[in-house]
Amino acid sequence: MATYKDIHGSKIQNVSSDPPTSVAGDLWYNSTSGELKVNLGTPVVAWSTVNSLNQARTSTSGAGTATAAIVVGGYSSTYLADTEVWNGTNWTEVNNLNAARNSTGSAGTSTSTLTFGGFPGGGPPTTQAGATELWNGTNWTEVNDLNTARRTLAGAGASNTAVIAMGGFLPPGTNVVETWNGTNWTEVNDLNTPRYAAAGAGIQTAALLIGGAGGTPLTESWNGSNWTEVNDLNTGREALMGSGVQTSALAYGGATPAGVTEQWNGTNWTEANDLNTARLRAASAGATNTSALASGGVPAPGTPSDVALVEQWSVSGGVSTIDLS
């Protein structure tokens, strides 16, 4: 059998650390990590289709990452309690919320989620929910309500014991912010600009609130104590999705235009490749600005059909490890 040297005329470099610079096609063995690595060229981030939700829905919320996510409630001809969990390949229906609703906030992981607020239905259109439910990977449990019942709010958090709920609709749009410690909600410092239909990203002590009603491009950053206005989105929009952390976030979809994707590097927003199916009011999940999941939603304001479509945002190219197993 021909060896690598027979084919390429040189041996694979054996190095103790990855070279600081490399070009597409370079191959080396990192003796420290014990990994064979290759440069696959300039990294490209794009949306691709993955398996659809079992239940089409809009005005839903989600949490987790691009490979382990949860989608909670929503609306599709009726208020939904349906919950689905994503394992990176397929969606599985799991136990329902105790109270069906849409326009909730959600945060955490696919096995440790908090869902709060929303529009419970069954009452006048001004009715808001303060109800909070906690997901432990198997069941939903009702826990203490938000202090200020509201819907179309944003959430961020690493688990179901450390969450921040940002803004929302009372009516009108509010600047109220609350944090959850696993037992109770506590009101903390307000947003600078009241709003709803914004997107959240980050964790309880380091969050972002992005865009919102009226198509605002405003972005605010939370340091655990106060909100600071930071650089705006390039394209202001409402009912958009957000995910990631405070230093590496993604804002996608919304109205209008509904396909726009922007990457946040901790300082600025940069426009990136659009969603293949433009949409708003979908569930979001993701850990960084190169990894996310957009699930369900409605294709554009006033367009028909809640969708079950799911798209995954991922990167190809760059330096990759070759699996030798």
Partner: protein, 98 residues
């Protein structure tokens, strides 16, 4: 003027329907009725249509499919209760680009 967009009908089956390598090369836009807009006179777009067994439609044919879905959804929206109408906007008409 040469057209810059083309249309086809193809059902999105999920994983593998639009792959990362395709989405990073051409711009897709999905519309109701499984209508997809992709670039015209583009090798990568044509390869994708073949892959998904898409049925190529003229712009007017695609528009008729989208209109049919939108009209049905508008009729359904009109029959909703007032409360349900506060949840979602009435589906509006969509005009596809030439």
């Amino acid at each position: 003027m040469a057209k810059t967009k083309q249309y086809c009908v193809a059902e999105n089956w999920g994983k593998g329907f639009i792959e990362h390598s395709e989405s990073s090369k051409i711009k897709f836009a999905g519309y109701p009725g499984n209508v997809w807009q992709i670039p015209a006179h583009n090798k990568n777009a044509n390869l994708w249509i073949n892959k998904v067994l898409g049925t190529v439609k003229t712009r007017d044919e695609a528009q008729a499919i989208v209109d049919g879905v939108v009209t049905a959804e508008q009729t359904a929206w009109d029959a909703l209760s007032d409360e349900e109408k506060t949840i979602r906007l009435r589906p509006s008409d969509i005009t596809l680009e030439e």
